[in-house]
Amino acid sequence: MAVEEGASTSSGNTVMCLLTNPEGEPLGAPLYLPQNVGPPQLQEIVNKLLNNDEKLPYAFYISDQELVVQLESYLAQKKVSVEKVLRIVYQPQAVFRIRPVNRCSATIAGHTEAVLSVSFSPDGKHLASGSGDTTVRLWDLNTQTPLFTCTGHKNWVLFIAWSPDGKHLVSGSKSGELLLWDPQTGKQLGGPLTGHKKWITAISWEPVHLQAPSRRFVSASKDGDARIWDTSLKKCVISLTGHTLAVTCVKWGGDGHIYTGSQDCTIKVWETTQGKLIRELKGHGHWVNSLALSTEYVLRTGAYDHTGKTFSSPEEMKEAALARYKKMRGNAPERLVSGSDDFTMFLWEPALSKHHKARLTGHQQLVNHVYFSPDGQWLASASFDKSVKLWNGITGTFIATFRGHVGPVYQISWSADSRLLLSGSKDSTLKVWDIRTHKLKEDLPGHADEVFSVDWSPDGEKVASGGKDRVLKLWMN
């Protein structure tokens, strides 16, 4: 009986499917597929059509919803007609899989004031943190103990940034000065870089595929201008003035443009040879809090990826970084998302036009942090309304809300395979969210006070978090 039923269902019903890539281009012609085909079979078909040498994993989406069951169950559920061509979007997934962190492996004390920012180096081997006690500390990941304490700042260290080749660390403080550090020895490289009159809000390095070894970085400050500094000349080479109020965030894009978002509700696009303003993106009704680029993760990690390869010469690094960047970007232009105090975000394609491509509404409080996933498919936004929202990274359509925090969510961080999202909040917990199931994966309590900064290491092994309770916590699986 069961066999007969099975035979009857598999014989008659087929459905016409068209596989398309995330940008909408179809892969081959429409195919007649039997209805008992599920994601594994579709994966084989895609691998074959793309002539992949190794079997790469793919995820399939029909009208923005992931396909996890066989086609016939999906059709029965959704009551989709078999006469129309079914468009299935395939998305390449990361080959490696990151395990979610679920335990705090170390609580390292050392800072005497709140930890304001933590950051892993691009190769994931070093960890640095800046704090309100005016020091930058480097931590040893193998023994989970303090390594170096870098003193020299006169006021709180607000922001730290690793160069994409991992050779330099720059930190900006509340008094407006920037200091360069050597992560191997913990010593300061040269004197303080002064020029800004008020505190530093953000720092971004030039991508390594544009120049290796990394020399230039841009810093944004409350006094309204962004400055491009050269580390070998140890001075400010270009000053990007134009904003009337504080510049809250700055990003150096992969095509060589600098994007600055400011409290005067505008985003300005600058070119870097002369510091001229290219475009001004208007539209927000209140402060622009955060910017995110679709290629941000690749620019941050430079030439390093999950294989853990080291490079001997800067040229090799530059080529590898360029290859990674090209693969990430594809043919599409770079996308920029800005999160603002007016509770909305805008999706821009700054290379094409000065009008926004999409407006992302839904948050009920200001959006504090926006971050593209490492593969650029998703966009996550953290807001003071205690929720984290997930959006489609290409079109900007809303996908899901992650609720669970009981206080404003401050910062988010993606795992390197884009399957997990980490959020740190004022309620002193960190939460790991699963992108596939749109649910909470892990709850990481343990901090005694607000969590100001979180970072997931690029190799996916560890998560570091720091906050008002002055300790740095390392989380592992």
Binding site: E113, A114, L116, S117, S131, G132, D133, T134, K154, N155, W156, L158, F159, S175, G176, K197, K198, W199, I200, T201, A202, K222, A246, T248, Q263, N289, S290, N368, H369, Y410, F452, S453
Partner: protein, 260 residues
């Protein structure tokens, strides 16, 4: 003081003295010494007055000097390292400290416990038991006095059944029982005749609340389904609180204002 202008007339006709300017100059030079001598030697009220005047002038002069000495060069940024370090995204924001949030929640809890609600009539006249109840004498010789009749308006509810008359202590006369109230919406200023669902709180005590006595200031719950109110979640609101604003036993009707 010269009366008349004969001095000026002479000056006009014959000119000034030849050493006039010299004398004026020397006189002015001596003014300084004279002023100083006077200031030092003057006594009494006059001395005080002069001292006060001089002090005022001195202060003014010092201020002008300080103002001129202010340089226009930029000063260094305030170097002191403050407590309460915050990341850059929180720096421009006004944080309500956790203490303030906690104190707000504690205050709210206290308010709830004390039962102090935000009502249109916060103070009502307290009604004494003698005014509220009339003693009913019962028994064969009318000596027993344990029954009481409520003299104010009451609400009993649709499914009310009296206790056996032999045992009921509180008598609520049917003439004073009401089931509808004239409820005014404070913003829309229109009045509706709505059913009473129940008596929520009588300010005189919870005994009267449980009896269902309605006097001025009582909070009652009314059926507002005919107003068509909807909660933000999409559910229909069918009961709301209202506070009684008249003395129903005098008027024969219950007038209330809706608590929005």
């Amino acid at each position: 003081m010269a009366q008349g202008d004969y001095i000026q007339l002479h000056e006009k006709r014959y000119g000034k003295r030849l050493d006039h300017d010299e004398r004026q100059r020397k006189r002015k030079a001596r003014e300084v010494k004279k002023r100083s001598r006077v200031a030092q030697q003057a006594l009494g009220l006059k001395g005080k007055r002069i001292a006060k005047q001089n002090y005022r002038e001195k202060v003014q002069m010092k201020k002008t000097i300080a103002m001129h000495e202010e340089s226009s060069t930029r000063r260094k940024i305030d170097d002191n390292v403050h407590d309460g370090a915050m990341p850059a995204y929180l720096l421009d924001r006004d944080p309500t400290t956790r203490a303030k949030v906690l104190s707000n929640t504690i205050k709210q809890k206290r308010k709830e416990k004390a039962g102090k609600w935000d009502v249109p009539l916060p103070k009502v006249r307290p009604v004494a038991e003698e005014e509220m109840f009339k003693v009913i004498r019962t028994g064969k010789r009318k000596t027993k006095q344990w029954k009481r009749m409520v003299t104010k308006v009451s609400f009993v509810g649709p499914s009310f059944t009296r206790k056996p008359p032999k045992y009921e202590r509180f008598i609520r006369p049917t003439g004073l029982r009401f089931s509808k109230a004239h409820v005014t919406h404070p913003e829309l200023k229109c009045t509706f005749n709505l059913d009473i669902i129940g008596v929520k709180k009588n300010p005189n005590g919870q005994m009267y609340t449980s009896l269902g006595v309605v006097i001025k200031g009582t909070i009652i719950e009314v059926n507002v389904s005919e107003l068509g109110l909807v909660t933000p979640a999409g559910k229909v609101v069918w009961g709301k609180y209202a506070q009684v604003t008249n003395n129903p036993e005098n008027d024969g009707c219950i007038n209330a204002v809706l608590l929005v």
